[in-house]
């Protein structure tokens, strides 16, 4: 049983945590792609920016959460989401819109977004410094230890408070997005525009509004992902940047331009990562007697070492692109 708890802690919970973060990030990337048809490389840094806003706000109002009984960072998250959405719309107005107006090829926008990445990273480093900082300023990070009611179980299932918030917020965000896209006229207009922008405009849909709405949603989601990630570990200026690869892998695995695919892709990549670095020898321990010796002798039976974790999304990406280039769900259109 202890082995099972170990598995839950190291795979189920850890996989869900990275899966949720990747999912929220990938939804933003995929929405931007489906509306504007380019890969937005600055997404990781928009996530960092969101977390940075939370850090600033929490530093300014460290007691904000006390009244609600939740961490201040969480109470101030909506404000940070709004600021990040504003930043996203501003970046679009300042950098991407002029490029689009000139009718450039998507690759130019991609390069442009790389420039924005460097700029954002530089700015955040300038103001936040390069070291890690905790988003828990006045409050304590709760850790829940759930002992399983079985005999002989010593190790508890460990979940931290930010992880629980992460699961809940991911669920709410995904359901909310689904309702928005399928029920509201604005969501339908987004679907229409991702399908055929010229026709959408000729049908009376204001494409500028749709672009702005897309940035607001992507910016808001980026702030959520960045903040929850920083709550779980610590805030660092390059933390989210290094998630860019798994996030893009998730978006592509799910079928680019397909928000539900991005959610699924996020969890596929998240679980693949944790399963790949999981030490399987622990799970095999109870069956030691019935297994061949070569299998049980090694103390470490992980597929890849932890330091090679970053390779896993690459591997998935290659497999998916070879085996099913359009992703799990057929991509391109919301």
């Amino acid at each position: 049983m202890n082995e099972l708890v170990f598995f839950i802690n190291n795979v189920v919970i850890a996989g869900s945590v990275s899966g949720s973060i990747y999912a929220i990030g990938a939804v933003g990337v995929t929405l931007i792609f489906s509306i504007m048809r380019f890969a937005h490389f600055a997404h990781g840094d928009m996530m960092t920016f969101g977390a940075f806003m939370v850090l600033l706000l929490t530093t300014a109002f460290p007691g904000a959460g006390a009244a609600f009984g939740v961490p201040s960072a969480l109470v101030l998250l909506p404000l940070a989401m709004a600021l990040t959405a504003l930043l996203a719309v501003g970046i679009d107005k300042a950098f991407y819109k002029p490029l689009r107006a000139h009718g450039v090829k998507p690759i130019v926008l991609v390069i442009g977004s790389l420039g924005v990445t460097l700029m954002l990273q530089g700015l955040i480093r300038l103001f936040a410094g390069t070291s890690g900082q905790s988003l828990y300023i006045d409050d304590r990070k709760e850790i829940f230890r759930l002992a399983l009611p079985f005999e002989g179980v010593r190790a508890p299932v460990v979940v931290t408070e930010p992880q629980l918030y992460l699961f809940v917020i991911t669920l709410v965000a995904v359901v909310g997005l689904h309702l928005f896209l399928s029920r509201s006229r604005l969501g339908k207009a987004m679907r229409a525009m991702s399908d055929n922008p010229d026709l959408a405009q000729a049908s009376g849909i204001n494409t500028n509004t749709i672009v702005a709405v897309t940035w607001v949603i992507a910016g808001g989601l980026a702030a959520i992902a960045g903040t929850l990630l920083s709550l779980d570990v610590t805030f660092k200026p390059d933390l989210s940047f290094f998630l860019l690869l798994p996030i893009f892998a998730a978006a592509i695995v799910g079928g680019v331009g397909h928000p539900y695919g991005a959610v699924a892709g996020g969890f596929v990549v998240g679980f693949a990562e944790t399963l790949a670095v999981f030490n399987w020898s622990v799970l095999l321990r109870p069956f030691r007697d019935s297994l061949p010796e070569w299998l049980t002798q090694s103390g470490n039976l992980a597929f890849v070492g932890t330091e090679y974790k970053i390779v896993v999304p690459f591997f998935i990406l290659v497999v998916i692109l070879v085996w099913r280039p359009t992703g799990i769900f057929k991509g391109k259109v919301i």
Binding site: R185, L186, G204, N206
Partner: protein, 255 residues
């Protein structure tokens, strides 16, 4: 009759290529005006300028006396100026019926507040829009494929769907860009009948780009001939067909 579309001295160049050269045309209210001309005469460019898809270099475009120069297509849609595309456009991932239901403006569901807090109102309007879409899809004879994804329809059916789109809202002017191209003869007859009915019964004004001379002859009066970016001749189809200038432009020197 008053001109509902008034194009005044429009110029448009792509790089060094002057495509529209001091072009002025008027489309009378309630008419079906044809726009013809040899390839490269600037018909589609002029169309795109009127429809707000291309910025013009100089000149003015008026819709019913109101200046609409360089206004975006979505604004023109709400003013009652609709267009179809030379290569049929459709929302490929939606059914034929949903394609039509996308069109009507100002539905309650457009506002998020309504979408989430007044579902009854939204549902009532959706029912109304659906009823109209079903009527339209009967009218254009696509009832049997209404639940197919529009991307899977044939080229001709997509053209019919384009015409159907213009019927979902109360249009004043409809720009038809080669609606007959790639449509078989039987369907074409339906199309012409439908356009005439819309013109007669619902008072739509049409501006039609067409290469099919039979269709122009059946449908359009007057006809404007465009050549090298400006108006060459304007008149009834008989006048056009007997004009030596037009014959020369189309068939080379008539000796």
């Amino acid at each position: 009759m008053a001109a509902i579309i008034d194009v005044q001295h429009v110029h448009k160049a792509f790089g060094g290529l002057r495509v529209i050269n001091d072009c002025s045309i008027q489309v009378e209210q309630g008419s079906i005006t044809g726009l013809i001309g040899p390839n490269g005469a600037g018909k589609s460019t002029l169309f795109n300028i009127i429809a707000g898809a291309l910025p013009l270099d100089s000149g003015r475009v008026l819709l019913d006396g109101e200046e609409i120069t360089n206004r975006p297509a979505n604004e023109l849609f709400h003013k009652g100026l609709l267009r179809t595309f030379q290569i049929a456009h459709e929302f490929s991932q939606m059914t034929a019926l949903e394609n039509l239901m996308m069109v009507p403006p100002a539905q309650a569901g457009e506002s998020l507040v309504n979408a989430w807090f007044k579902p009854a109102l939204v549902r009532m309007q959706e029912t109304e829009v659906r009823r109209r879409a079903l009527e339209v899809i009967d009218f254009i004879g696509l009832h049997h494929v209404r639940n197919e994804l529009a991307g899977n329809l044939s080229g001709g059916q997509k053209k019919l769907l384009e015409l159907g789109r213009t019927m979902m809202t109360d249009a004043r002017v409809v720009l038809l860009d080669e609606i007959a191209a790639g449509v078989n003869r039987t369907l074409l007859g339906d199309l012409v009948t439908n356009i005439e009915r819309l013109n007669r019964e619902m008072g739509y004004t049409f501006l039609v780009i067409e290469h099919d001379m039979d269709m122009i002859a059946r449908l359009c009066d007057p006809v404007i001939v465009l050549a090298q970016g400006s108006v060459m001749v304007e008149g009834s189809i008989e006048e056009i067909q007997n004009d030596p200038q037009v014959i020369e432009a189309y068939f080379g020197a008539a000796s």
